[in-house]
Structures are given as structure tokens and as C-alpha cells.
Amino acid sequence: MGPITSAPGFPVWLDLLIAFLIGIGFGFSLEQAGFSSSRKLAGMFYGYDTTVLKVFFTAAIVALIGSQFLSYFGLLNLNLVFVNEYYVTASIVGGVIMGAGFIMGGFCPGTGVSAMSIGKIDALFYVLGGLAGAFLFAETYPLIQPLADNAYRGPVKINDVFGISPGLFTLLLVIAAAGMFWVAELAEKKFARPDITGEI
């Protein structure tokens, strides 16, 4: 029963090798989707390219549905899968800062590294900036620590907040995503920029 590496005595080097392989799949999918282009990513926020929305939600939903079915058939123990812990203030403030960084830089770390690997110089500068940002955070950590640790709520799940089953929430999410995809395709037609989409 999964997760496979939760078996006692699982060799660490194998765990790291698996991470590397999964990373290859990750980088490959990102680049194939076109996320190695910052103008394509930024297009989400100007309307001419909504690939980000489609890929993001499709990926999250596929993994969500897949993991629940694996759990139902006893192949994966979902209690042993990490659930992000919720720190209210830190999530929101960090999210706002990330949004600004996204629209300025045009990448997120995963896509930035994948773009850097195919030669995009702006991605290289993005990753360098990213390292600087991590360094800045590490050095100034005592200043921001109270905010970072504020309002800890533990690994809360969203379906528990609404009091519904995970399966039902998944269904609602799929319906919402279907709606968003439809709107996204309309938006692409309305805000189309053939000059940009032609060359990215």
C-alpha cells in the first residue's frame, strides 16, 4: 500500500533518486505545456493566453481524483500523504508577495528553472533573483518570524471546513473548473493577441 517510501527501512538514496526522476517528469510536462515562456505565463493575466489556468486546474483535479480512487481501492493511505499546514497570515501575505513577483518576473520557480534549462536568459535572471530572495528571507528571518508563525491552524482540509465529503468537494471543484475553462476560452478569443501568441 502506498506511499511506497513510507515502508520502514526504505533507502534514502533511492528516495532521492525517485525525486530526481519525478522532477524530470515535472520539468518535461511544464516545458511541453509551454510554461518555459514567460509571455505565455503572463498572458493569463492579460487574457490572451489562459494555458496556466487550464494546466493548473487539470493537473490538480487529475491528482485529486486519482489519489481518491487509489485510496478507495486500498492502494494509497491518504493519511500518510502530506497535507500543507495552514498559517493564515503567512499564506495570505506570502500569496500577495508571490503574485507581485509573478507578474514582475513572469515565472514561478518550477517554470523558471524549466525555462532556464532551454536557454531563456530572463529565466536565468529570475532564478538568480529567486536565490537572492531565499537568501534575503533566511537572513532576515527573525524579523518576519512572528508573522510567519502567526495563526496556525494545522493541516486543515477544505472539505472539512464546509462539512462535506472529499468526493463531493471534488465534484464541485470539477464543475467550477469546467466553468472556468469555458470562460477562459471565450476570453482568449476576446483578448486575443495574435502578434504575441504567434511568436511565443
Binding site: 480512487f69 485510496s71 478507495y72 468526493g167 471534488t170 470539477v174 464543475i175
Partner: protein
Amino acid sequence: MNARQILTTILLLLGLILAFLPLSGNYSFHGKPGKLLVETLDENTYCTPDQVARFVVTEDSTMQLIDLRTADEFESFSIPGAINIPYSSMLSQNLESYLDRDVKNIFYANGDYLANYALVLARGLGFQNNMVMKGGLNEWYRTVMNSEFTGERISARENALFETRRKAEKMFTELNSLPDSLKARYRESKEIERKKLDGGCE
């Protein structure tokens, strides 16, 4: 039909199935009668209130007390560190989340019988790592809470036993005399400590 329509239709169908699937998958009672018979008579399946008192006092995190009484009874008093799974709702909960972990679960209730039934159910469904506190809370009160210092201290071991009982009694009284909000906070923090998994992007 274009890609979007195909994809959303497939996902909608799968989502519909998930929404109506019973949550807890398939639990089947596959305990072998012979094995269960032997296990429930094995002495190692039972621990005394004194042993539980020692776990409580040393805050032993390899043990988890499970209180099988109703929520109201649990709110009015409970053994420090215990979580509440009312017997009647044992099976409707996500069993693995509390039965399938690295810790040893110790069932208790007011007397003996609920804890014994819970043990048989748990063992039968395939979960090991569980025990029963013999005598339940009645025995806990008799030996730990109402322990009396009778005459001279005879041996070091009896001395230590008495100390443990006294400490456990203190912890019990302290926890259960807290106002409800603080009690809840104490339990929450215990709950959060349990679930330390590896992951995230930190």
C-alpha cells in the same frame, strides 16, 4: 468534441462517482475466530490503570488513550492525553486515521465491556497495536485517584508506584478542572503534534 469538452466530461463523470462513493472504502471483518479467541485472553492485551498512570505521567508518546464514552461524558472528565471516539460511532469514522498508526492504542470506558468489544472489532478488522485498560475508569478511580498512603512505606517500588499514582491524580484533576475552552486548546495541541509528516515546499 474538442479536448476541453472530452476532458471535462471525463472529469465530471469521475467526480460524480467519487461524490457518491462510500468514504471509508472496504473494511471487512477478516479476523480468524481461533486467533481472536487466543488474543483476547492474552494478558499482554490488557494493561492496568497503574501502567496507564505511568504513561500519563511520563507523557509517553508511543501510547494513545482512546476514550470510548459519549462526547458529553468525555467533556466532563477524561484521562489526560486521551482522544474521544464514542463507541457507537467507531465504525463511521475514518478508522485508519486513529487505528493504523505507529502508536499503541489503549481503549477505555467506564467499565470493561465497551473496551473489550472495541478491541475485538479493531483486531477483527485487521488492526493490531491495541490494548484495553483493565477495569476502565472505575478501576482508575479506585487505584489511582483514591490511592491512600497506608502506613509505612515498605519498598522502593511501592514508593515509586505511590508517587506515580499521586502525580497522575494531580494531572487528571488539573486537566479536568480547566474551563472547556482551555481543555479544547490542550487537546487540539496534542492532535496537531500527532500528525507530523514529511513534505511541503518549505
